[in-house]
């Protein structure tokens, strides 16, 4: 069972909910894997504090000249949709930050002068947090594309047990890379115009990817009360609401698990657990 926590707007509670659910279900005896796919700023580790950490580099393929010269025919440049290869008289020049690593230029090169090497794009971290399996991917600073790293993370996740993924916010390629393959997507939102605007986009994304989604409304007592009506009109299942609570904010700000200090958060997490186990 893979549960992915996503949101349109950032800062609505993905990490609060995903780490809390992971801890709760792990304590209850489920075999839990927590994976932080918010690769530009992963912070699940702040709360779950993994130990026995092992790190490895993640690479994507990058074309390189393996012969010293070529005839400059230009087929590689013509093929590349991303303008990542330009063909000079006697060589091809590759722009790594534009390359999507498809390998097409290698295939079209009639002289076999192109090969591939790995280019580091990020770090994969594995460890343990209590009885939980902890995973996290961290994108290198300055790296523009995060989807390949997220795909490397999600493709390494176990097929069994409860797998909880903390996705990046938004609805971009990187979010979709984390959401794809989910059995359930939990969309965290808040009842503000910004939160609702982006929630609609996020719902559209889950529908386009054909994955079922439920909504958790965080800071439910702030903002506009008519938001909940709007959610129902859209046919969305609101699984839980969490009020704006000082105890949660204080624990979170200290990197502590708010689960043990907030009964309302606990109730929301228990609703999620029931939905997952049903």
């Amino acid at each position: 069972m893979r549960v992915v926590f996503a949101s349109g707007k950032g800062g609505t509670g993905k990490t609060l909910l995903s780490t809390s659910l992971a801890l709760h279900m792990s304590r209850a005896g489920s075999r839990v894997t927590y994976a932080d796919a918010d690769v530009e700023e992963p912070n699940g580790h702040v709360f779950l504090r993994p130990t026995n950490v092992v790190k490895s580099l993640v690479t994507v393929p990058l074309p390189v000249m393996v012969m010293p010269t070529c005839s400059g025919c230009g087929l590689c440049q013509e093929f590349c949709e991303f303008n990542a290869v330009i063909s000079l008289k006697d060589r091809a020049v590759v722009f790594p930050e534009l390359c999507h690593g498809c390998g097409g230029c290698l295939l079209v090169c009639p002289e076999y002068v192109l090969g591939e090497r790995g280019r580091d794009v990020g770090v994969m971290t594995r460890g343990r947090s209590g009885d939980m399996d902890f995973r996290m991917a961290t994108l290198h600073v300055g790296e523009a594309r995060s989807a390949p790293l997220i795909e490397a993370l999600t493709s390494s996740l176990p097929a069994d047990g409860v797998v909880i993924v903390d996705a990046p916010p938004g609805t971009s390629c990187s979010t979709m890379a984390a959401v794809r393959g989910a059995d359930l997507v939990v969309l965290a939102t808040e009842p503000t115009p910004f939160g609702i605007h982006d929630l609609k986009l996020a719902v559209g994304m889950t529908r386009a990817l054909n994955v079922p989604s439920v909504v958790v409304v965080n800071r439910a007592d702030l903002g506009s009360p008519h938001v909940l009506d709007l959610l129902e009109k859209e046919g969305l299942e609101v699984l839980a609401s969490i009020p704006h609570e000082r105890a949660i904010a204080e624990a979170y700000a200290h990197g502590e698990m708010a689960l043990d200090v907030s009964p309302s958060l606990r109730r929301a997490i228990e609703s999620l657990e029931r939905r997952i186990l049903q």
Partner: protein, 113 residues
Amino acid sequence: MERKIAISIQGGDSLEAVLDPRFGRAARFLIVDEGGSVLEVIDNGNVNASHGAGPATASLVSRAGATVVISGRYGPKAYDALHAFGVETWIGEPDRKAADLLEDFKQSRLQKA
């Protein structure tokens, strides 16, 4: 051999045209010789490219035979690509006419990017 000079312009097809200050996403290029004859006008198909407009535009002007470019700003990838093609990059002030920029270039009054 006379050098061919590519000047990025916002529109038009003569030396009266005004500089387009963005190289990679310039609307079009005037290809002129040092005598001031317009040899060719090229529309830049990379204006709305989602990725890599710089290298693609560099390739476009190089293929047109230009070894000198006068434009406003060059992105880092456009700059690298132009230099890989052996094309010189010069900076023209925005809002100036191609004719004046060509004259400035010939009088060595322009700065290299």
